[in-house]
Amino acid sequence: MKMMTRATVLLLALATAACTNPDRFGGAGGADGANGANGAGGANGALAGSAGDPTSPAYFNQAIGDRVLFAVDTSTITPTGKSILDGQAQWLMTNADYRAVIEGHADEQGTREYNLALGQRRANAVREYLVSRGVPSSRLQVTSFGKERPIEVCSEESCYAKNRRAVTVLSFSAVTS
């Protein structure tokens, strides 16, 4: 979770405190406001590197694509999704020092608990696909943010379509697998 930590630190620095009076956490300002860090979707930016370098996370995020999208209330990988995941699998096998957490997300049209479970289904569908393409399962973890971390905020299908996603978030750590 090294990457998560870095992303957290980054957002910590940017965060503004929303401290009010009845606060027994001391109103430490910067200590507040970090919970946007997890699952922001574009968190791979923290590792970045140059998109021109095919071994860089930036290349993974931009040239290959770090996310796949889903239809309403489904976890089926679309043909477009498969081609993105084929690229992800290839990259992960070539760059064996990276692990990934696959974050599943849902749009806001659903109850909180169900959307957490649905996001898990989506993330797991991605994981299973990557494993079927040869990525060692030990390098892939799944989590779900349900509807907690939309990247688009309108209440229309144009936004919902982008929020129903599973994002492959890389972290650098030499693994023995």
Binding site: G39, L116, T143, S144
Partner: protein, 440 residues
């Protein structure tokens, strides 16, 4: 700050007069689902028995009135209409003067402050029958806890008039929200049922979701993303210490609720794309799997007698409500209307299940009997979800989120009749309320 609020009020009740009790035990109001005309009551300002009590006696009187009128079952008669003055707590009641202004209930009281000690005495009268209703009571507490004293007076009044338990001296744990929709900050908070005495229980360093009170209100279960994965924490409300429920690597745990004895937790565990319901004993850490379908099983809620669990499942293709024995086994579907049903919560009386329903692009909070009959939708909006019951099973609180890029979440309450819908008055965004028990 914390100490002041969490400090247990030392409070006791002394019956100090034995008046003629009404022979008739029928309540003045029987709460039914039909439209009820609010019962008019007169609440002359409680007597300040010493000068230190003058402000607080006014404050307590106002809060008692606010609690009662806020139910929609009572209507306060303005003091400007009063014919009689109540100048002493012990003076005989001039019933004719109160009948003349059509007051059905009359509440009188007296307040004394000695240092930090607060003494509140009150009496309730049935004006039409010209008798005291129940016995006068005396409450002793602290000045800091004056709101609780007022809520106790209102609870006793509500209870004597309706024959049912009250819900005013209770607290709600919820998620306080701030920030834009795509970077929302969430932290656990607790408040009195009416939004007063807001306190935070966690910071916003990790997403927190769906807190649930223990049956006696001493602990709160909630889901936290501290680790990057949803996990269940148990938080002690008194000292805010917390402990994580054991979860294996690769598993997500969420949607917890306490058993009625507070010793076990029922919740959802996701692994390998499948979500099922489990039960863990908090003492031994032992857990048992209660469902094992390839579908999503979540949002479990126990019946008050602990024998059954209502939950949601998409085993039929869409989210629907099911009831199974508390130890697992065959489940029967109870929701059959149009749309999808989720987040079922068994009522404290055991007769109803509250739920969230999605249909035709709208969300509703509704109730149905435990056999699925008599479904009744209480609300309708862009996004209503997550009902929680008042301790007496008469009121439901829930989250309502508004539409669009600037959408925010607030908490509302509504009677199970569908009447008296209103926002809980607190600053900032709020979601996922869990209504705690009446405080001792």
């Amino acid at each position: 700050m914390m100490k002041k609020v969490i400090a247990v009020l030392f409070l006791w009740v002394v019956a100090f007069s034995v008046h003629a009790q009404t022979n008739d035990d029928r309540p003045l109001i029987v709460i039914t689902d039909g439209v009820t005309e609010p019962l008019p009551f007169a609440l002359p300002q409680f007597q300040a028995e010493n000068s230190a009590a003058s402000q607080i006696s006014a404050d307590i009187t106002r809060l008692v009135a606010q609690d009662l009128a806020g139910t929609g079952l009572f209507r306060e008669i303005p003091a400007t209409s009063f014919i009689s003055r109540v100048s002493s707590f012990t003076q005989p009641i001039a019933y004719a003067d109160w009948r003349a202004i059509n007051a059905q209930g009359l509440i009188t009281g007296a307040v004394t402050v000695n240092g930090n000690q607060l003494v509140v005495k009150f009496r309730l009268y049935d004006v039409f029958s010209g008798q005291e209703l129940g016995q006068g009571q005396q409450l002793v507490g602290t000045v800091d806890g004056w709101r609780r004293m007022a809520h106790k007076v209102a609870d006793a009044t509500y209870s004597r008039i309706t024959g049912e338990g009250g819900y005013f001296d209770s607290r709600v744990v919820f998620v306080s929200e701030s920030g834009p929709k795509d970077n929302r900050q969430k932290r656990l908070a607790i408040m009195d049922y009416d939004g007063a005495n807001l306190q935070f229980l966690t910071d916003s360093s990790a997403i927190v979701l769906a807190p649930r009170f223990s049956p006696n209100g001493d602990r709160v279960l909630y889901t936290s993303f501290e680790s990057g994965f949803p996990r269940i924490n148990v938080l002690n409300v008194g000292n805010v210490s917390r402990q994580q429920l054991g979860t294996a690597q690769g598993e997500m745990a969420f949607s917890p609720r306490f058993s009625r004895d507070g010793r076990q937790v029922i919740y959802s565990l996701s692994n390998g794309g499948n979500t099922d319901i489990y039960r863990t004993d908090l003492g031994t850490g032992q857990h048992i799997r209660l469902t094992s379908a390839p579908s999503i099983e979540t949002a479990p809620s126990l019946s008050p007698d602990g024998s059954q669990i209502v939950f949601e499942s998409d085993r039929s293709g869409t989210q629907q409500l099911y009831i199974m024995p508390a130890n697992g086994g065959d489940a029967r579907r109870i929701s059959f209307g149009d749309g999808r049903y989720g987040t079922p919560v068994w009522s404290p009386r055991g007769d109803l299940v509250a739920f969230t329903k999605q249909n035709a692009g709208r969300f509703h909070i509704g109730v149905m009997r435990t056999d699925g009959s008599e479904e009744r939708l209480l609300t309708s909006s862009f996004l209503d979800e997550g009902p929680t019951w008042s301790p007496n099973g008469r009121v439901i609180m829930f989250s309502r989120e508004t539409q669009g890029a600037g959408g925010t979440s607030s908490m509302y309450s509504v009677d199970i009749s569908g009447r008296n819908l209103k926002a809980v008055p607190i600053q900032g965004g709020a979601s996922d309320p869990s209504w705690g028990p009446l405080q001792p």
